[in-house]
Symmetry: C2
Subunit: 581 residues, 2 copies
C-alpha cells in the first residue's frame, strides 16, 4: 500500500483526557477516532490490525472444531427475560423499543441468543458436543467508558459457547480452549498468563482469565516465579502456610487480657507469632429482598480475609458490608474479644466459616466473647460441624500451590480473554434440554469463552511500546515493513523505493511505501509512531549504494548494500521471518 493512497491521519498532539499510551498512540497514529463516548471508528490501519487478530482467532477456533456463526446483535428482550437477566444485568444492558413498541436490547453478550438457538435445533445427546462462536459487535453501556479501546461501549468480541451432555466433556472442551487461547496469544506475540479466576458471581465451577502482562493493567494478578501458575487475587491459593516458631502448647484456659484488642497486642501479650492467634472478622451480608445477617470469618492472625472469597462463601449474598458496633452489641459481642466459643448460642447466624488452613489447628489463642478475656490452648478439632472454606488473601512470598517450590508474586495484567465452565445456569433458566441416552430430558451443560478482539489492540500496545510510539508484534502489525523514500523528488530514491516495494510485496511481505511529499523527519516520526516491525530508509546513502534497515523494537540500524539486489531482498525477507517476537 502506498502511504499517499492511504487514509492515515497522524497527529503530533496528545489528545486530552488520555491516560494510557495505547489510547494516545492509537489516536495519534490514525488507527481509531472517537465518534461518541466509548464508540470508535476504526480507520484503515486499525481495521487491518483487527483483521489480523480476527484471522488468527478464527484459524485457531476452527482448528479446535468450533463453528463460526453471526448472531443477531439487536436482540428481543423476551430472551433476556427468560434467563432472568433483563432485570438483573443493570444499566450496562442498553434497552430500547422499536417502531412497534417491542422491547429490544443491544447484545452485550449472547448466552441467551445461543441457548435459544441450540434449544431449537439440538434434541439428542448424539448431536453433542457442539461449539459455536462468532467475532462480532457488542455494546455495553459502561457508566464511564475510558482508556480508548480498553473500556469502550461498542466493541468487537469473539464469543464462543459450547454445549455438552456431561461435565467431563465440558471439562475436556475447557481444557481444549485453554490450549487454543494459549496458541492465539502466543501467535500474537504476547507475554500472558492464564490465571484462575473467581467465578462465584457469574456462576459455574471453573473459570480462567487470560491476562496480558503490562504495567498499566487494571488487574493485580498473583503469579509463580518458577512455573506458569497464575490467579486473580480472589482466586489465588497457596500451599498451606507453616509457622516460623514452635506451637505455644498450653492447656485450655481463660486468661485475663485487659485492653488486648488487636492481633498485634495479643501476639505481644502472649509472646507468640500471630500465626498462633485466631482472627475474627464479622461482616453484615445483604441478601435479595432487604434481608441481612451477621456473618463470621475466622482465620489465622497472620492472614487477611479476601473479600471476594468471603462473599462467595455466603450462598445467596449480594454484598458484604462492615458490621457496626451496634450490630455487634445487639449480637452480644465485643470487638477484639470475638471467638468461636458459644457463638452459636450468642447469635442465630448460621454463617460461621473457618479458613481451610485452620482445619485441625490446635494451640490457638482466641477471644472469649467476654470483655478483656481470651482463651489459650484452643483445639479446633474438638469442635463439631465447623465449616472450612478458602478465605485468605494470598501474599507475595507465599509458596505456589502447583509447583510447590516457586514463590508467588504480584504483577499487573490486562484481561484479554476469559473461559468459563457455565454448567446449566442458562440452559436451566431457559428450559433448554436434550434427551440423554435413557431418553430423559436434561439441561445442556455449557461453557463460554470470550476474547476482547478490539481490546487486544490496546493490550498489544500496552505491552509493546516505547516513548516514541507503538511497536506492533509481527503477527498483529498492519504491515510488516515501512519503506521510507527520504526524498521523493530524487528519482533514484523513488525508483529504488518502488523496486523494493514491488519485490517485497511479491514475496508476500506486506509493505507500506511512504511516498509522501513530506520531510524525512516527519516520515521517521510517523514510522516510530505507527510502529511497523521494520523500517527501510532509501535516502542519501543510496549514492554509496546503501539503504538502511531499522528494527522498530529497539531502533537498531543496519546498512545494507544494494549491489546484489537478489541477496538484499533475501536478507530482508529473512529478517522479516525471524521470530524476534
Amino acid at each position: 500500500m502506498r502511504f499517499s493512497k492511504l487514509f492515515l491521519p497522524t497527529f503530533k498532539e496528545t489528545p486530552k483526557d488520555v491516560v494510557l499510551k495505547s489510547h494516545e498512540y492509537l489516536v495519534r497514529g490514525g488507527f481509531i477516532q472517537q465518534i461518541g463516548s466509548g464508540i470508535y471508528n476504526f480507520l484503515p490501519l486499525g481495521k487491518r490490525v483487527l483483521d489480523k487478530v480476527r484471522q488468527i482467532v478464527k484459524e485457531e477456533m476452527d482448528n479446535a472444531g468450533a463453528n463460526e456463526v453471526a448472531l443477531g446483535f439487536v436482540t428481543p428482550s423476551f430472551l433476556w427475560q427468560k434467563s432472568g437477566r433483563f432485570e438483573r444485568y443493570g444499566k450496562e444492558l442498553l434497552r430500547f423499543k422499536d417502531r412497534k413498541d417491542n422491547d429490544f436490547v443491544l447484545g452485550p453478550t449472547h448466552e441467551e441468543v445461543i441457548t435459544e438457538l441450540v434449544k431449537a435445533n439440538i434434541k439428542s445427546y448424539k448431536q453433542l458436543p457442539i461449539h459455536l462462536y462468532q467475532i462480532n459487535l457488542k455494546f455495553r453501556d459502561e457508566i464511564r467508558p475510558r482508556f480508548g479501546l480498553m473500556r469502550a461501549r461498542e466493541f468487537i468480541m469473539k464469543d464462543g459457547y459450547s454445549f455438552h451432555s456431561s461435565t467431563e466433556d465440558l471439562k475436556r472442551e475447557f481444557d481444549l480452549m485453554e490450549a487454543t487461547y494459549s496458541r492465539i496469544f502466543t501467535r500474537l506475540g504476547l507475554d500472558f498468563r492464564a490465571v484462575f479466576a473467581d467465578s462465584g458471581a457469574i456462576g459455574g465451577n471453573g473459570s480462567k482469565e487470560f491476562m496480558v502482562l503490562a504495567k498499566s493493567g487494571e488487574d493485580t494478578i498473583c503469579v509463580c516465579d518458577s512455573c506458569q501458575y497464575g490467579a486473580n487475587l480472589e482466586a489465588a491459593t497457596r500451599i498451606k502456610k507453616l509457622p516460623n516458631t514452635e506451637a505455644p502448647v498450653a492447656s485450655f484456659a481463660k486468661f485475663h487480657t485487659p485492653k488486648v484488642q488487636t492481633i498485634e497486642s495479643l501476639s505481644e501479650f502472649f509472646k507468640v507469632e500471630p500465626f498462633w492467634t485466631l482472627k475474627a472478622v464479622v461482616k453484615k451480608a445483604l441478601f435479595d429482598g432487604g434481608k441481612n445477617a451477621l456473618v463470621y470469618f475466622f482465620l489465622r492472625g497472620s492472614d487477611s480475609l479476601n473479600e471476594t472469597k468471603a462473599l462467595n462463601a455466603i450462598v445467596g449474598a449480594n454484598e458484604l458490608v462492615e458490621a457496626s458496633e451496634e450490630d455487634l452489641k445487639s449480637a452480644g459481642l465485643v470487638q477484639g474479644f470475638i471467638g468461636p466459643f458459644a457463638l452459636r448460642n450468642l447469635t442465630s447466624s448460621p454463617y460461621i466459616y473457618f479458613d481451610k488452613e485452620l482445619e485441625n489447628a490446635s494451640n490457638l489463642i482466641c477471644g472469649a466473647n467476654e470483655v478483656d478475656y481470651h482463651f489459650v490452648g484452643v483445639d479446633l478439632s474438638t469442635f463439631e460441624g465447623l465449616e472450612f472454606k478458602d478465605l485468605v488473601e494470598v501474599k507475595e512470598g507465599d509458596f505456589c500451590p502447583v509447583c510447590k517450590k516457586g514463590k508467588l508474586y504480584f504483577t499487573k495484567g490486562i484481561e484479554a480473554g476469559h473461559i468459563f465452565q457455565l454448567g446449566t445456569k442458562y440452559s436451566s433458566a431457559m428450559e433448554a434440554t436434550f434427551l440423554d441416552e435413557e431418553g430423559k430430558a436434561k439441561p445442556f451443560i455449557m461453557g463460554c469463552y470470550g476474547i476482547g478482539i478490539s481490546r487486544l489492540l490496546s493490550a498489544i500496545i500496552e505491552q509493546h511500546h516505547d516513548e516514541r510510539g507503538m511497536i506492533w508484534t509481527r503477527a498483529s502489525a498492519p504491515f510488516c515493513v515501512h519503506l521510507i523514500v527520504s526524498n521523493i523528488k530524487e528519482q533514484s530514491q523513488m525508483q529504488m523505493g518502488i523496486k523494493l516495494y514491488e519485490n517485497l510485496q511479491s514475496k508476500g511481505i506486506e509493505c507500506l511505501l511512504d511516498d509522501r511529499a513530506e520531510r524525512y523527519g516527519a516520515k521517521i516520526a510517523d514510522f516510530e509512531l505507527i510502529g511497523l516491525p521494520f523500517g527501510i530508509v532509501v535516502g542519501k546513502g543510496l549514492e554509496k549504494g546503501e539503504i538502511e534497515l531499522i528494527r522498530r523494537k529497539d531502533l537498531a540500524k543496519e546498512s545494507l548494500g544494494i549491489q546484489d539486489f537478489d541477496a538484499l531482498i533475501s536478507k530482508i525477507f529473512e529478517v522479516c521471518q525471524c521470530d524476534s517476537f
Copy 2:
C-alpha cells in the same frame, strides 16, 4: 469439514409465512434462523457464504484503491441533526437514549459519520480523492420486514463513500465503481444489469442500480434485447418515437367535437393515430407547509405519463395526487378538452411541462379549453417559452437509446447494489469543506456506493434454484463439493470417502463430507437442498469400482472409475475449476 461436526440443522417443512424460495431454502437448509422480526442468526453455512461474498467485494474494492474502515454502528444523533436527516428520515431510523439520556441512532447508512470523519481529517485538495468503505452491520426499522434476508431490519452492507475536489473526478470514480461492481457481480456468477436509476428523491445527478435478474424481483426494469442498456421504469428513455402514418396536415382551426373526451374517441373522430393527438394530464402537486398547485403535463396521445418523471419535473414537490373535478372547475377547465392554448391565462400555475419528444411537433390535435371543441393543425414551435422534459413511460418494443437498434423489454430484478453521485448534499449541510488550489473553502464533492451483502445471499438463490433447493454459484458456495458416503457402516465406503476428502482438500477443493449415520435418501435430499455445486456419492457402485459425480445445476450424473485414483482426483479437480457458472 465433516457434516457430523457441523451445526447444520436442515428441515423438510416449509416455514410459515414464506413467500420467496430463497427465504424458504435458507431457513430449511440451515443457513439462517430468525430471532426476531427481520433479525437473523447466520448459522455456519450462512456465515461461510457471507464470508465468500465479503471477500470478493473486499478484493475488488481494495483493487480499486478504496480503503476499508469500520465505522461506529451506534451513532450520536447530533450528527444526523447536522445533516437534517434526524427529522426527515422517518421511522426506519431507530432512535434511542443511553443511560445518560444522550440520543443515539442505529446506523441505517453512514453518510453523516463518514462526512464528519473526513471533515475532521482532510483539509486540502492535495489529500483528495479518497474513498473509504466498510462491510458492516446496518439497522433499518422497516415497517414490514419480509422475504428473509431480502428485506431484513438488521443486515450487512458494503457502503463506500468517495470525496473529490471536482465533479469530473467524481464521475471518474463513479465509472470506476460501475466497472468494479460489474466485476464483483460477474465473479459471483450472477446475471445482472447496471441500470440507470432515478436519483431525484435522494439528490445528486447520476445513479445506477445493479439489478440481479430474477422472476421474483420486486423491481421492473427495462432492458435492451441487443445491448447492455437497462434502466428503472422511472429512468428509462428511448429513441424518439416516429409515427406510423403520414402527418394529418391541416391549417389551424377549431372543430366542434361533441362528447369527444378521450384520446381514443378523438383519434377515431379525426381518423388519425393517437400519435398526432396531444394528451393533457393534470395533477395536484403537494409542497412542504401544506402548499399545493395544479400542474399540467402534455404528451402525445400514444404515450403515458411516468409518475416519477412527472414528480421530478416539479421542483420542491413531495407528491403528486389526482386533481379533482372541483380543482379543474375552479381553474376553468373541462376534462377531455384541455389544451395548451390560453392555459396561462386560465390559471396561475407556473407548472406546465411538455414531453421532450414534442419539441417542435406540429400537425397536432388538442383540446380547446372549451366544452366539445378541439383544435387541429397545432404547431408547438409557434409557442414561446414552452418547457420540455422527459415525461413518458417507456413501452416494451420501443427502441434502445444506446444502441439505437435493439428493442426494449421489461423484466424483473432484485436491487443488489446502488452507486450514486451525491455531489455536495451532505458536505454542504454538514459544512465539510476543503481548501482548493486557490485556498478557497469548498464543500467536498461526494459519491456513495452500496452493496447489500446479506441480501445477495437471497438474490443469488432467487436466480439460482430449482424445486429441490438452492444451487450456489461456484464463487458463493459455502463448499465446492458435497461428498456423500452412502452407508458409513460399510468400511470400504467410509475409507474411500475419507481418502477423497483428504485428497481434494489438499488440492484446495473445499469439501463437505457427509459422514452422518443417516439414510442415503436423506443425504441426497440435503445435497439438493443445500445446493453445493458438485456432489460425489460413494455408494454401492464402489463394488464395481465406481463413484458418482453429480452436477447440482442440472443434476446430471456421471460414473467415475476409482482404479486410477490420481486420474480420478485430477478429473474432479478439473470439473470443479470449470466455468459452468
